[in-house]
C-alpha cells in the first residue's frame, strides 16, 4: 500500500509548489490573469504535459489536457477544478482537485488502462471571480455558456476582461470554439475540499456531494430616523439598527430551526452616516440564503421577508427588500453519485452524503452534463483562509476512492 502514500505525498508536494506562486509575498493570491496566475498556470500545464496528455491553454486561460481513447466518436469525461484563488487564500481550494485529477490520469497512463471514453483534465482559470466580480469564467467557456458582454467588464484598476485575456496571450475570438459540444460530454468529476466542518467533526475522510445549494442574495434597507444620541428620549426613537438587529436574530433563529433545509447569513451591515453620537437612521444589510431544495429556498425567503416586514412595522421602520442574485439548486447525477458512494464503501469507509453550500464549476456544467463531486475533509472546515489544511491520510484515502471511481466508471461504460 506504500504506493498510495507516495502518490499522496507527491500531490502535497505539487500543492505546496503551486502555493509558492503568489501576487503577494506573504500569502497565497492568484487571481485571474495576473502574472502570478500565469506563472502558476504554466507550471500546472507543464505537469500535465509531462504526464503525457495533449496539453494546451485555451482562450480563457484554462489548462486543458486530453487523454484520448482509441474508439471513434468517444464521449469525453471531464475531471477538473480551478487554480485561481481568493485574496489571502489557502492552498487547497481548487488546486487539490486539479492535482488529484492529474494524479488519477497519470495512474491511468502508467497502468495503460484501456479507456472507453476520452478524459479531459481541466484547470479552470477563474472560479472565484475575485478580479472581475464574475462567476465561473473558465467553466462557462468550456460549457459554451460564456457571456461575451462580460469582456468589457473592468477590474479595480480599470483593466477590461478582454485586455486581461490578451495580456495572458489568449485570443477572445476562440472563446466559442473552446466549448466541449453538449452531446459529447459523458460527465464531470471534481474533487474539492469540503469548506465546511461536517467531515472534520464526524471524522470521515471524504464524502459524495448530492447537490449544490441554490442561493438567494438579498439587499435589505431599514429606514428609520436619525437623531442625536443624547437628546432623543428612548421612547421617541426610530432606530434603524435596533430594527436590523432584531431581523438578524430572528433570521438566525429561523435558520437554526430549519438547519436541515437552509442556511441564512447576514454578512454585511452598513449604518448610513454612522457616528457614535447619532441614532442610526438608515441601515443596509445583505442576506444570503441557501438550500439544496428550490421549494425550501422559496419558502425560507418568503418567511424571512414576512419576518422583516413584521419587525419593521412594529417599529415604524420602512424597509426595501431587493433581490440581488439567485441561482437554482443543482442536483448531482444519481448514477455518478451511486458510483462514487460505492467507491467510498469499497474502502470500508462510512458513506455519507453532503450538500455543497458553496458554488462550484459543477453548477454551470450541470446544465449540459451529469456532474459528480467528491468532498475531502479539511481542518475544522476552514476555507478561504491561510489556515485551510488537508491531512495526508485523507489525500491517500481520496486517491484510493478516485481510483475506484474511475475503474467503476470504465467498467460501467463497458457493460
Amino acid at each position: 500500500m506504500e504506493v498510495y502514500l507516495e502518490r499522496a505525498q507527491r500531490i502535497v508536494a505539487r500543492i505546496n509548489d503551486l502555493a509558492g506562486i503568489s501576487e503577494d509575498p506573504k500569502g497565497i493570491t492568484r487571481t485571474f490573469g495576473t502574472a502570478a496566475f500565469v506563472e502558476g498556470r504554466d507550471k500546472v500545464a507543464d505537469w500535465i504535459k509531462e504526464a503525457g496528455l495533449e496539453t494546451r491553454i485555451d482562450s480563457i486561460g484554462n489548462v486543458r489536457g486530453k487523454l484520448s481513447c482509441s474508439q471513434p466518436n468517444a464521449k469525453t469525461f471531464v475531471i477538473a477544478s480551478h487554480i485561481d484563488t481568493v485574496v489571502n487564500a489557502g492552498k487547497w481550494d481548487g488546486p487539490l482537485g486539479v492535482i488529484m485529477g492529474l494524479d488519477l490520469v497519470e495512474q491511468l497512463i502508467q497502468t495503460e488502462a484501456e479507456l472507453p471514453f476520452n478524459i479531459e483534465l481541466i484547470a479552470f482559470s477563474d472560479e472565484e471571480g475575485v478580479r472581475f466580480h464574475t462567476t465561473y469564467l473558465g467553466s462557462k467557456v468550456v460549457t459554451g455558456s460564456f457571456d461575451k458582454h462580460l469582456l468589457g467588464k473592468k477590474d479595480a484598476s480599470g483593466i477590461m476582461l478582454k485586455e486581461a485575456i490578451a495580456t495572458m496571450g489568449c485570443n477572445i475570438s476562440d472563446l466559442q470554439k473552446d466549448a466541449i459540444e453538449a452531446d459529447t460530454w459523458l460527465g464531470y468529476f471534481e474533487i474539492h475540499i469540503e469548506q465546511g466542518p461536517v467531515l472534520y467533526e464526524r471524522n470521515i475522510p471524504a464524502a459524495v456531494v448530492t447537490s449544490i445549494a441554490g442561493q438567494r442574495r438579498i439587499e435589505i434597507t431599514f429606514e428609520g430616523m436619525a437623531g442625536h444620541a443624547g437628546t432623543v428620549p428612548m421612547d421617541r426613537r426610530n432606530d434603524a439598527l435596533c430594527c436590523a438587529a432584531g431581523f438578524v436574530l430572528q433570521t438566525e433563529k429561523y435558520a437554526i430551526e430549519n438547519k436541515e433545509r437552509i442556511v441564512a447569513t447576514v454578512g454585511k451591515l452598513n449604518i448610513v452616516n454612522a457616528a457614535s453620537n447619532v441614532i442610526p437612521g438608515e441601515v443596509v444589510c445583505s442576506l444570503d440564503v441557501r438550500s439544496a431544495d428550490e421549494t425550501d429556498l422559496n419558502q425560507a425567503c418568503g418567511h424571512l421577508q414576512n419576518l422583516c416586514n413584521k419587525i419593521s412595522e412594529a417599529r415604524n421602520i420602512k424597509t426595501r427588500w431587493k433581490l440581488i442574485q439567485q441561482t437554482a439548486p443543482v442536483s448531482c447525477d444519481k448514477d455518478l453519485v451511486n458510483l462514487l458512494s460505492h467507491s467510498i464503501a469499497q474502502e470500508n469507509l462510512e458513506t455519507i452524503s453532503l450538500v455543497s453550500g458553496a458554488g462550484h464549476d459543477a453548477v454551470p456544467v450541470s446544465v449540459i452534463a451529469p456532474v459528480a463531486m467528491l468532498f475531502v475533509r479539511c481542518f475544522k472546515g476552514i476555507s478561504h483562509n491561510p489556515l485551510e489544511d488537508v491531512e495526508l491520510k485523507d489525500i491517500e484515502a481520496t486517491v484510493k476512492i478516485s481510483d475506484n471511481f474511475i475503474q467503476n466508471l470504465i467498467k460501467k461504460y463497458n457493460q
Copy 2:
C-alpha cells in the same frame, strides 16, 4: 406687544442672514477657522459692534462684546453660544443663542438699564469640534482651561490647529490672556434649541435645563469566527454579528426600562472584512451612554458590560470593552435655574425642566462659574440637519422669558 414680535422677526432675519454664509453652496457648513466661518464671525462681530458693545475677536476667534457697568470691580455675567456648525447643519443650533443674546443686550442698551454687573456677549468659535475633533475650543479659552497640546492637532487636510488660528489672524500667544478670571464670573447663560422632541411633543415653547448629562463612550469588539456562508452549518457557527445584534437589542431594552435615568445608543457597527457570503468573524461597535446622574451612569455602564459578557459567553464569543471618553454630568446653578423658571412662569407658561443630553459650552464653564441654560422648542426635535426649525412664536416667547430673566437677575443682584 407688537415690539416682541418685531424683535423675534429681527432675530430670524439675522439667523437667515448668517445661514447664507457656508463652505458648501447647497447647505450650511461653517467649521472652525474656514473662510466661511471667518465671514460669518465678522458679520456677527459687526452686529455686536453696531449694538454699541466694546467688541473684539479674541485669540481663538471668539467674538466678544462687552457691556460694562459703571461700578468698579463689578463681576461679569456671560451670555453666549456658538457660531460654528456641523457639516450640512441647520441654522439654529448655536446662532440662536448668540443672536438672542445680542437682542437681549440691545434691549438693555435701548432701555438704558442700569447694570450692577458687566455683561459679556460671546459667540464661541468652536463648540461642534468638527474640523479638529476637539471639544469646546472657544469656551475653554474663555474659562482658562485650553490645552496647548491641541495646537499641533491636524485637520483632515493636515493643517494644524495653530496654523488655522494664524490664518484667521489670531495670535496664539494671547490664549491665556483671553480667559475671564475665575473670581470675576457672576454666571453664564445660554439659549439653545432643545435638539430633542420633548417641548415639541408637550407643546411648550421653552424650558429650563437643570443639568447636562454625563457621557461614557465605549468601543466594544466581538470576536467570533469568520466562515463561508454556504458551507458552515447553522449550529456550527460563531457569528460575531448575531452576538452584537443581541447586545444592541438588550441595550435598547435596558435603556427603555430605565428611560427616566439614562439613554444608550449603538451608533456605529462595523463588520471587519464584511462580505455577503462570509459569516461575520469580528464586529466593532460603539456604545454611547448618558445620564444626568453619575451613579446612574456608572450603574448603567456596569450593567451593560455584564449583559455584554453574558451574551458573548453564551455564544462563545470573545469581547473587548474599551472606554474611549467620559465626561461627568453637570448641574446647572440652582439659583439661576429658579430665576429662569420664575421668568417662564411670569409669562403664564407651563414650567418643566429638562436634562440636556447633548454637551454644551456650559460644561467647561460650569467648572468655574454658575451656569444656566434655556432650551427652545424645535421642530420634532430634529437637529444637526437642514430640517432644524424654530417657530417665530417660540422666539417671541423666549424674548420675553430672557427679558424677565435678566431683569430678575439685576433685581436679585441689587438686593
